[in-house]
Subunit: 193 residues, 2 copies
DNA sequence: CCTACCGATCGGTAGG
DNA sequence: CCTACCGATCGGTAGG
């Protein structure tokens, strides 16, 4: 059995896994090395510092959400259609990159101020995309006239960001059903239908 | 200026603050000592171990939510009334004990299996209270007949648990307005009204 | 609550 | 990617 050498992206991926599971401060470079079958000190052939690894994982998370929102909006359509694509895109990002997303959501506070500010800006831009779509939906009558786009966006994103905490892909609810349920909650109400 | 000695509960309170801000692994006993104006080693006059401090903070969080749910249900009333009291109680717990709550929500994974299992059981019981009230509301017609109590509870709790991440008490939205908005999202829909 | 420690582990480096 | 380290910091203890 041939064990190939690790690439830099292997190291980043493993770091995302451990940071997600145990947190940044709960993961030592020796833990990370063990995960890859090498010594902690050997990691410095691939990476400059531990912080550097966190920066890469978190910025990958920011990129995934940004790209998802861009895709969802680029195809146009009604506000309802765009909202559904935003929700479906978010769910896909969370379920297909849970390590990166969990690190992005929970460990960004450990970053130095410069990088943390960048993450906050990315989150704000992402939320703004949701807000704009909801505002469009209020104008075209998809959503109720009294809807506050900011509050609605916060609530929708609260539901989306919590998905990772409870959803199991092998359960009774499949991915499309999950998206349907969240879109229904957003448009028809949590306890409606 | 007289500086009094610290009590055990002072130590636990300070631990909650630092665990919430920097995480359990991001907080050293020397950090905690500095916060209280004493040396890290002096903390062991008040407490048996660092883990012990985490256990106390997290179990206080569990207790706060349990008591809140018990109070909300004890006074009876319609499903809608009980749901509103559950929401208002949750918001009060979060806003009046944000350090404890943040530690409860984010640092429980660090606990040993026995204590972590206890926390998970407490969370399950708390969610069950929401589920039961929503189920009652479906039966008495307060909520739509198609409402899934489990899914609705998860969504409501997702919104409630996220409050701590964005709500600032000194902003335009006061506490009663926040509760109203969340109850409205739960009953009339996120993007309705 | 302090002094004076302890062994273990941490992130990281030099040199191969 | 390993060997062989480094200084700093960690949780915690003995004795007062």
């Amino acid at each position: 059995m041939l064990t190939t050498r690790n690439s830099r992206s292997d190291v980043v991926a493993a770091a995302g896994r451990l940071f997600a599971e145990r947190g940044y401060h709960g993961t030592s470079m020796r833990d990370l090395g063990r995960e890859l079958g090498l010594l902690g000190s050997s990691l410095y052939a691939h990476v400059e510092s531990k912080q550097d690894l966190l920066v890469e994982v978190v910025e990958e998370g920011a990129r995934l959400f940004q790209d998802s929102a861009e895709d969802a909006l680029a195809r146009g359509g009604t506000a309802a259609e765009r909202l559904r694509r935003l929700v479906a895109g978010h769910v896909a990002v969370v379920l297909d990159n849970s390590d990166v997303v969990r690190t992005f959501l929970n460990e960004a506070r450990v970053l130095d101020e410069v990088h943390r500010a960048r993450v906050i800006a990315a989150r704000d831009a992402y939320e703004a995309a949701f807000r704009a779509v909801v505002a469009d939906g209020v104008e075209d009558g998809t959503f109720g006239a009294g809807t506050d786009p900011k509050m609605a966006s916060i609530f929708i994103l609260s539901i989306l960001n919590a998905v990772e905490r409870w959803y199991h892909p092998d359960g009774a609810l499949d991915r499309a059903g999950l998206v349907d349920a969240i879109v229904a909650a957003a448009t028809r109400g949590i306890a409606r239908t």
